[in-house]
């Protein structure tokens, strides 16, 4: 028998976890201690390479890790205990799965001999999180732990990124075993995401693009996930081809909002020009987006006359909602590089002057128009003011979910990727505040603003306490209309204006609340006071709750009503009661 006592790779499971984090370059994790993770917390206490941020609720840890991941491109890490700690992670895990965010969650579990016994704080964590992770593991032997942790990081960050969970029973954390640094053989042989696109398909795509009369590029979050090279290549492709470009909610910032080929966001609350361009185009290049139902509108009337090229790293995204003509499976950046190379070698910029003239006519409809007021702050105006005040600064924006989120997407111009953190797929109210915490941890000197609604922000308000504890000067900019605005908008449009439980009869005094947490509160009612207050907010180096009282009944337009196609948008100037009723008349018939 050899003496292993001096082998530096002999260590406890808990020590392996901290070591693996260090080996994967993790510097910050978000978590909450509890019985089943105490050995890990004991290891964290005895080192200084990994900083632990104590949240106030595990959901906050998950969203903070998501914000961290999205603003850095690195995986976010969360550490939670068994039972309720794990179940509280279900929302962020699902959120990260829907938005393809690399997240590594380590959860404690009751000791292996108690699994299945309904022990204290026991739950079937891997069973519960199986459908809301890209993959998950229950580690029963300490000698498997290093391999599983390394594989977890690889799976989370490779291919289509996503959340993973490693469930570690407490006895495995105490047990001593052999650690090894990351190596290739740690990964399932059955997992090999494809990176390079098929050359034949790329050629077909270039032929379509080169002969297009009415082309459009429709880009998504995949471009941002692919990394800075993909963003650079996307911009170059737009430059080389001269094509118009629109983007999903997730893809904002990949192409700059100030770019001359920018059409604005597309989809349900996208611009008129973006949606009309999509509807009437003859060649569509979809890069790293997935034809989500908020994007397509009515599927059988979606861009009926176009040939569609779809670049996606996940084969299951191809032909899921919309049949495409040229699917190319692989990494966006890699494929964009190949397309550019072939295009530059063999094709020349097609003449699409007539198409741009058509687009100019659609643009002239000014679909984001709203009527300003001197009496009351319009929410759109508030976002515009915020944008103007922060333009040119090193700013990161997160949001909650609802009307304010759509207005932020419409009126805040993103110039760079990784600057916009919003819950797109799952639509998680309460995402923005903890996400801002995560972003600020990653970028301590940047300006981090959560554009929030009064309803959403109360779902994870407790994380203000985290922000105060770690001196994270996040700015929570609340568009306060006292309603769940988007719920109310649907009730007005589709449910006979019966506003069932979408009004908050009792709201906290956000200024006093900020002060109670040890932060700073602002409240603004008048448009004239807005700009000054925003400047003051920016200059405060502490967490801020900014209660921006806005026009209560303003709704979010333009809008594709349900069951309608891209060319049947409801524009703001048409959105009077009668036109709205007519646009939704089909719906009313079945109410």
């Amino acid at each position: 028998m050899t003496d292993k006592s001096h082998d530096p790779n002999q260590m406890t499971g808990a020590a392996m976890i901290v070591r693996a984090l260090i080996d994967h370059g993790v510097t910050d994790i978000f978590g909450y201690p509890g019985g089943a993770v105490l050995p890990i917390y004991d290891e964290i206490f005895q080192q200084s390479q990994v900083q632990h941020i104590l949240v106030r609720h595990e959901q906050g840890a998950g969203h903070a890790a998501e914000g961290y991941a999205r603003s850095t491109g690195k995986p976010g890490v969360a550490l939670v205990t068994s039972g309720p700690g794990a179940t509280n992670m279900v929302t962020p895990l699902t959120d990260a799965l829907m938005d393809s965010i690399p997240l590594v969650c380590i959860s404690g579990q009751v000791p292996t001999h108690l699994i299945g016994n309904d022990a204290f704080q026991e739950c079937d964590t891997v069973g519960i999180t199986r459908p809301c992770t890209k993959h998950n593991w229950l580690v029963r032997d300490v000698n498997d732990l290093a391999k599983v942790l390394h594989e977890a990081f690889y799976v989370a960050t490779s291919g289509r990124p996503g959340p993973v969970l490693v469930d570690v029973p407490k006895d495995v954390q105490f047990a001593t075993g052999t650690y090894h640094p990351p190596r290739k053989s740690d990964v399932h042989r059955s997992y090999a995401p494809r990176v390079k696109g098929d050359a034949m398909q790329i050629r077909k795509a270039v032929t379509l693009l080169a002969n297009a009369k009415r082309p459009v590029i429709y880009s998504g979050g995949g471009v941002i996930n692919s990394g800075p090279e993909a963003t650079k290549l996307l911009r170059e492709l737009v430059e080389v081809t001269g094509f118009p470009i629109t983007s999903t909610l997730m893809g904002l910032g990949a192409y700059p909002a100030s770019g001359k080929n920018w059409l604005g966001m597309l989809g349900m609350h996208g611009t008129y020009e973006a949606n009309m361009t999509m509807h009437d185009c003859d060649v569509m290049l979809c890069v790293g987006a997935r034809f989500d139902d908020r994007i397509t509108g009515r599927v059988d009337a979606f861009s009926p006359g176009s040939k569609k090229i779809h670049i996606d790293i996940d084969p299951s995204s191809i032909n899921k909602n919309i049949r495409v003509d040229v699917p190319i499976i692989g990494d966006c950046g890699n494929i964009l590089g190949d397309i550019l190379q072939v295009f530059k070698a063999e094709a020349k910029k097609p003449d699409i002057k007539a198409w741009w003239q058509q687009i100019a006519q659609w643009r002239a409809r000014n679909s984001l128009y709203y009527r300003k007021s001197n009496e009351v702050i319009l929410p759109q105006h508030a976002i515009q003011s915020l944008f103007e005040a922060t333009r040119g600064r090193d700013t990161y924006i997160t949001t909650e979910v609802g009307q304010h989120q759509m207005w932020a997407a419409q009126f805040y111009g993103f110039e760079e990727p990784h600057r916009w953190m919003t819950s797109g797929g799952l639509g998680t109210m309460g995402y923005g505040l903890p996400a801002a915490v995560g972003v600020q941890v990653a970028h301590p000197d940047s300006l981090v603003i959560d554009i929030a609604g009064d309803a959403s922000v109360q779902m994870t308000m407790q994380e203000m306490s985290t922000a105060v504890q770690y001196e994270l000067p996040i700015k929570i900019f609340i568009l306060n209309n006292q309603y769940m605005g988007m719920v109310r908008q649907w009730q007005q449009l589709l449910h006979g204006n019966r506003l069932s439980h979408s009004y908050s009869e009792a709201l906290p005094d956000f200024v006093k609340l900020a002060e109670a947490y040890g932060g700073v509160g602002f409240q603004v009612h008048k448009p004239a006071d807005l700009d000054g207050a925003i400047q003051e907010m920016i200059s405060v180096k502490r967490p801020v709750l900014f209660d921006c009282r806005v026009a209560a009944l303003e709704n979010c337009f333009p809008m594709i009503p349900s069951g309608k196609a891209h060319n049947e948008m409801l524009l703001p100037e048409q959105a009077n009661d009668e036109a709205t009723a007519k646009a939704f008349a089909d719906g009313k018939a079945l109410v």
Binding site: R130, L138, G297, I318, R323, L494
Partner: protein
């Protein structure tokens, strides 16, 4: 088409359903079957038949054979969704290749006396079913074949005193010298 009041686009899809047999080669590890079944229930796919067994113990490989129905678009989705699971090595659509053999095994218990008993035995012989248990008033037949053949046999046994049936579900393999 009328739209109910919904934040979603509700539409009817009229593509006809097809039945496909999929062979799925997976890493035999805890939870792998739950992942596959969870995918089907979670995404609203149908399972008509499911068989699973370890096929290469040394490599820890199991083979899952699934018979499913759906529109061509849904079948394509199912294959891609299965294929992207971490422990899944390969997914082969045995129906699409048109070069596969499908077999199922059933044990069929029939109770009866007199002419019924004689008739059951005669039919069993015609279907090449074997008697694997007998009493003075019952038989258990073992029958192997494709799903249609077994369904037909069971239908014929019904008036002759069918008591119960136990079926394995479909297993499938490709023709010719190549492996999957």
């Amino acid at each position: 088409m009328n739209q109910p009041a919904s934040a979603y686009f509700i539409e009817d899809r009229h593509d006809p359903n097809e039945t496909h047999t999929l062979a799925v080669l997976v890493q035999n590890e805890p939870g792998v079957l739950a992942r596959v079944i969870g995918l089907f229930s979670g995404r609203g796919y149908n399972i008509e038949s499911l068989t699973v067994s370890e096929t290469e113990a040394q490599k820890h490989l199991s083979r899952i054979t699934i018979v499913t129905t759906g529109t061509p678009m849904v079948i394509e989705q199912i294959k891609h969704q299965l294929d992207r699971m971490i422990p899944v090595y390969r997914v082969v659509d045995m129906t699409q290749t048109r070069r596969s053999i499908e077999r199922e095994l059933a044990m069929v218990k029939v109770r009866g006396q007199g002419d019924h008993r004689v008739e059951a035995l005669r039919l069993a012989d015609a279907f090449r079913a074997r008697v694997i248990d007998a009493t003075t008033e019952s038989f258990v037949f073992e029958i192997t074949g494709n799903t249609d053949k077994i369904n037909q046999f069971i239908d014929l046994m019904r008036p002759l005193g069918l008591v119960e049936v136990s079926r394995t579900g479909v297993a499938a393999i490709g023709r010719g010298p190549e492996g999957m």
